[in-house]
Symmetry: D2
Subunit: 339 residues, 4 copies
């Protein structure tokens, strides 16, 4: 079996997670990690058998032994890294969003379609065992024609102010996963976006022109209606539920709980809460998405979450932002990028 | 204990249900039932110990022994019956909606506030055991400040075409229950209404200018956001769920299933579906709402679901209709009645 | 439709419940109630339209207008009442157990089989909506050949000492319902009984030679094994669950909860507890069992819970008592009544 | 951090699983694997970075760089391997059961208590996230004094005939896990064992003097009663549930399902079945038990599942066998080993 060598660009929380997951893959190895603070990574890298650390990601791109890169650097650097990686003919796995700027993402899209490298966007939820089963059931027609798609997506607690400031806003930072899921579940493109948003959790969101609570309604090309409810604070944990109603029935996936323990005491019965946040909830999905990426390289097939998927989710995020700002329904065909 | 005599005006499905429920109340009796097709009611009335049947509801209003009337006639007759009942100083329980016409309902509202009779609207869901527990938990602050209110309300199958034609449309016929629940759960008035609606189930809805699927987003005066998803066809049964997210957590009420039976076979585990429709699902709630009405009479207290509650839910229904027709967000303060 | 007149002998908690339930049946009426403390029943009887109260149950048996009697008196009086009722040619619904004494119950059994009256034992759980669905699935072969039958049956709190003293012991008082369910679910007779019992909840049980906690294992003629766990104290409510494992799968019925409300707070998610006790849990079953009894009279069919069913459950209870006392497995064929 | 070198003796399914799990531990490495069929392991070993394979486990014991061994060979070889490993001063992780022979296990027990090596038995279920939470809740007194402990443990399908022949019988092969869980949950020793067993699934069990279905009742020194139901065939998957009833309430752990997907169609709602078998169900537990073993070595603490725990579970298995054969209750204090 072909052995794939990987370079990881950016070793924050998610970059490290991917490296650790890869350490258990028999046919893939992380050869080099680049990070501005490379010196802080020495003992971690040793522990996971990663031999090279660098502050310059170009070292990775220049290494002919490296087949693929994982772009885990801050979003503001994605565009530059991606163009350079394409030049270096490296396959690219890129965390979401591709960029904050729709024109920039479109340029990347156009470059990728003519380049001979694999490109996968880090929409990990597609690779969740339960969500992908829902999608398969929908695609097989088990619920008939699609009528309603509902996504609940709530973080357990707001991120720190420093993160909020540079996050690009809730839609591009958080809801973008739901926009991708909506397309994934419906198998159809979004045509209309309506938003009712609010700042209810912490005034810091408002300070940075952001919101923390929203209901987003979508109309799909196939006629179905989608609705997403987002919150930056669900005190009981990371709330991730999906449901699809069709002419023949409904299929849904509920939260994954911390355990199956149930305590029945005199006044009530207690269950465990949902898994706390994305690292716990999507632990398996992060592994599955990387395996899928490496398999696409090995088998020379299309990735399961393409640059097009990344771009379309971003377009919906920008439409949602415009809908929030104007207070009006936005038709995707009229979408003009907001500066 | 005081014994209350009741007259029921209109003995269709819901009028009969109320009569049958009252037959088990020790301190209330149905003295007279009026219906255009009185002759069809004879054996039914005998079975439930109802001695008088008439085709003219005025017979009920003229009877000094009758304390209260249940208005279960077609909506188009409500206004006339209510004004006459007020004249006759009868307490009034009125099925929803009060009228199809907002000005007419406002007139009734104005008349009731100065009249010395009890008036209760038949929003039965408020009296559901699980829903009222959710409301109490919210009101006690168990989930903190309100952020999101979600209501799922789906009928098992569309009504017949003849019903659709005269129903007043999905919002005033079906969603009105959800609008009332939204106010009940939030304890706040609706300020904005946005609608994404569609005709996906049967073209007959379109024929009568109606829709069959909708997502309705509400913004409340207290800042919370509400979202209702409605469908005229949930193949698996009557889907009635509510959930309230607040700063400290979430409280929800799930569907009531036909049984607690669970079959685990080689390929899957099977549960029973939700109770089929409103008569099964809200069987207890129909009894509780009547008891509450009669208690309000006996104890001379306010009814738990007032003419104001009826009027406000209708106002939201009219706003939703306008939002659907214009494709724009409707501010309740700007609401002009649609003709 | 034939109207059935009923006399109720013994108006304690269960006698009253039956009377109240019958008051809502269109074709049955309670004509007379007999009770030693008849004078305490006057206002109650009036409320439910019962015209005659007596201290002497013979008044009921002598009334030619009365078709059937409900025997709700203390168990120690059952035998005498039943023989007299048979003489008077009344159909008999008898609360469990028929008697405390196996020879006495056998005499009743022998008398009934040759008498021309209906006889139904008050094993209400057979008429529970979920339990009867489980039984039907088993009988239809949905889980294949039977391997294991599990019954969990726990009271929320121990009865008062005065009750314990005259209850006949846990097996004949409480487990007898489970013995009947075991026969009902298995469709087979019990051949062996093994018991591990203990006094863990309150020393008062020991004082009266009784236990409060037990695991009872049964072997059925069809080869299946049954296991019942009983407790006189489940702090969280009345715990009533059944499950049947067969060669093709499992079918079970879980507890019925007080509501479908679910609260998710920062440390845990809370559900409602099971319905508190038998009056809440089997509210519907009490109605269904009476309807079945009256239908057996009207249609002249066998009752669904015969004198044989009552006798067999008692035989298992006596076997369990013997197994507890001897510490050994009891074969039903060797059963000698314990004095 | 100290690095631990491990040798694995026996590379069947479970030996390989442990080796693969260890490959992701940063501070432990599998240096050598011994197996009779070493040549079949070459590519597998390479894939997981295991450099040495041998057919002679003594090579492992002779290697001074190896700190600990995992005994995953057939049970019949355990005793010899364990005594040799103690001689070689290796820490020992031993799959269950320690031996088939109670006297032999007692000898090992006596040898271990005076030896200066760690010894852990592979009772993986203690390390299941949900089960250990139940145990902690019980130990903290959350359900008060213990009354009933219930364990359901059913395999999805019978093992092959060849396995049955040498398995030692259902009690020592399968129920032994439940006997250990019973001690773990109760925190008390078993004093009495009663068994009702049967051969219902496949005559091959009978052929080898074995059974396939059983209900085992235990009485603990603390007064509580335990009940285990075992089956070699649950068509719907691996059924692993526990529940503990105490004076203040109940705590239970339900099955882990394959997904959280729920499909509601016109006739029923479908859930996923429990995870199929032990490799899926206890995937995490296998990792956690090894981590605990290595931590006991690193921190020089007692293992969480000692040789005493292994011995006591075996004693209960032998008592169960005797109870089955004699048809009588067995007192643990009277236990004479069955030949």
């Amino acid at each position: 079996m072909k052995k794939i060598n990987v370079g990881i660009i950016g070793a924050g929380r998610i970059g490290k997670l991917h490296a650790e997951n890869i350490s258990a893959f028999p046919n893939v190895s992380v050869k080099t990690v680049s990070d501005l603070y490379a010196d802080r990574l020495i003992s971690w890298a040793e522990q996971f058998g990663i031999s090279q650390i660098t502050t310059d990601y170009q070292d990775i791109l220049d290494d002919p032994e490296i087949d693929a890169v994982l772009v885990c650097a801050p979003t503001s650097l994605h565009s530059e890294i991606i163009f350079n990686a394409i030049e270096a003919k490296k396959h690219i796995f890129c965390e979401k969003p591709i960029t904050f700027d729709l024109e920039e993402s479109e340029k990347i899209y156009n470059r990728i379609v003519s380049a001979n490298v694999k490109f996968q966007v880090g929409f990990n939820r597609r690779f969740d065992h339960s969500f992908s089963q829902v999608q398969k059931a929908v695609r097989k027609g088990e619920v008939g024609d699609l009528h309603l798609i509902k996504i609940t997506s709530r973080d357990p607690a707001p991120p720190p102010a420093s993160y909020i400031e540079t996050s690009g806003g809730m839609f591009i930072d958080m809801s973008i996963h739901d926009f991708d899921l909506a397309r994934y579940l419906s198998g159809s493109e979004v045509e209309e976006v309506t938003v009712t948003g609010a700042n209810l959790i912490d005034p810091v969101f408002k300070k940075y022109g952001d919101i923390d609570t929203a209901v987003i309604t979508l109309r799909f090309a196939n006629g179905a209606i989608g609705v997403i409810d987002n919150s930056r604070k669900a005190a009981y944990g990371y709330d991730q539920r999906i449901e699809v109603l069709g002419s023949e029935g409904m299929v849904m996936a509920d939260n994954v709980l911390n355990s199956t323990v149930r305590k029945s005491l005199s006044t009530q019965t207690q269950l465990d809460n949902p898994k706390y946040f994305f690292l716990e909830r999507y632990k398996e999905a992060y592994i599955v998405e990387l395996k899928a990426f490496f398999n696409a390289i090995i088998d020379d097939t299309d990735t399961l979450c393409s640059v097009k998927d990344g771009l379309e989710a971003e377009r919906i995020a920008h439409a949602a932002k415009k809908a929030l700002q104007t207070g009006e329904k936005v038709l995707m065909k009229d979408l003009t990028v907001i500066q």
